[in-house]
Symmetry: C2
Subunit: 209 residues, 2 copies
DNA sequence: TTATAATGTAATGTG
DNA sequence: CACATTACATTATT
């Protein structure tokens, strides 16, 4: 059984070249090379070994199928495969090892291009959001101006009004919502419920604009 | 030329074993294995071929150095290297081929982790921007309420006022900035200079709030 | 046609 | 077995 493997193995080294290729290599390629022995090659008897066998399509198909079912190879299945394919069990082992390695690097490439796509999508999203923020800030700026204007108009028109335009409490503590241009605050996950403070602050501020 | 390669090649396979290794392979590794032939290995088909691989550190260093200087290998340098290293030019060629392949996959991994970092940074940025937008929209909402309140107050108190509360230019052409909640506009790279229109629009709208 | 870059595959060797 | 390495083979390109 194993001897058969070896026979096949050896036959692949010494006999017909590319035996499995015959079925799909019909393009006009003479494939004449490899015959330029010079006189030097006397002991070149050696050259003859180490043709790199290349498994037949059938063999590869079966191996692939088996690999698709399970990347690992229990010795039982290995032996079964080996005998079915007429290969040395050692070769089956090696084939699986190499196949796993190949699979891994292919996987990496897939992951890479997937990540790349996500990344590019995110770039676009980020850009959109930045524009959104910019626009909103400008709108905020206009809104504040308008409020200031209205407040001023009111206090002008009605001479005296509330003693303190407001309760005048703390005045710092908040980010200046306007004039930021790009002064993004760093409170990432802020509760985002503070939508009133700035309006109130507005009253506490000697309009600086 | 190629025949010479082959000769040298062969000599490396069959002549002195590990000739280059002798100088620096003295670690205490008996290296006794390789004798565990199972019954399978009877004809030991595998053993006969391909002795002597593994280039010496010195050889690898020089190759590595050469590779560092230039990934491509002009035949001149190839021959020079080959003779300096006592290797078959063919081996040098192959070494460079393989080295390039290795380099490429290493590169891929680097690119991958770099991209991954960028990607994660972007995720965070995106989150920050989304919060920013959310907060700004809430602030806008408050500002609008405030403006409405002031306008109402004014029209109650002072009946008639200035004909144009502002310079009032064009009015339509813009999106409703409030009540959008999440109605992101799609004008990505908009000039982002439109910050007045909405304020004007406010006056043209029967306050709906 | 030759040379070789790029890619794929088999086998070897080490931990 | 994973991983790196060496070598061989095939295909595309010039």
């Amino acid at each position: 059984m194993n001897n058969d493997d070896q026979m096949l193995h050896i036959s692949q080294y010494y006999s017909g070249i590319y035996t499995q290729q015959l079925t799909q290599q019909g393009e006009g390629k003479p494939k004449r090379r490899r015959k330029k022995n010079k006189g030097d090659d006397v002991n070149g008897a050696m050259m003859r070994r180490r043709r790199k066998r290349k498994l037949s399509d059938e063999q590869v198909n079966l191996l692939e199928q088996s690999f698709g079912h399970e990347h690992k190879l229990e010795s039982e299945r290995k032996d079964k495969l080996a005998s079915e394919l007429g290969l040395d069990p050692r070769q089956v082992t090696v084939w699986f090892q190499n196949r796993r390695a190949r699979w891994k690097s292919k996987k990496l490439e897939e992951e890479y291009s997937k990540l790349k796509n996500e990344h590019e999508t995110n770039i676009v999203d980020k850009c959109r959001l930045e524009n959104e923020v910019l626009k909103l800030k400008e709108q905020m700026c206009e809104a504040e101006k308008e409020i200031q204007r209205l407040l001023m108009e009111r206090s002008d028109g009605i001479s005296i009004n509330s003693p303190t335009t407001s309760s005048l409490s703390m005045e710092a503590a908040m980010d200046p919502p306007f004039l930021g241009e790009f002064g993004f605050d760093n409170s990432f996950y802020g509760p985002s419920h503070e939508g009133l403070e700035w309006v109130n602050n507005l009253y506490n501020m000697p309009y600086h604009m």
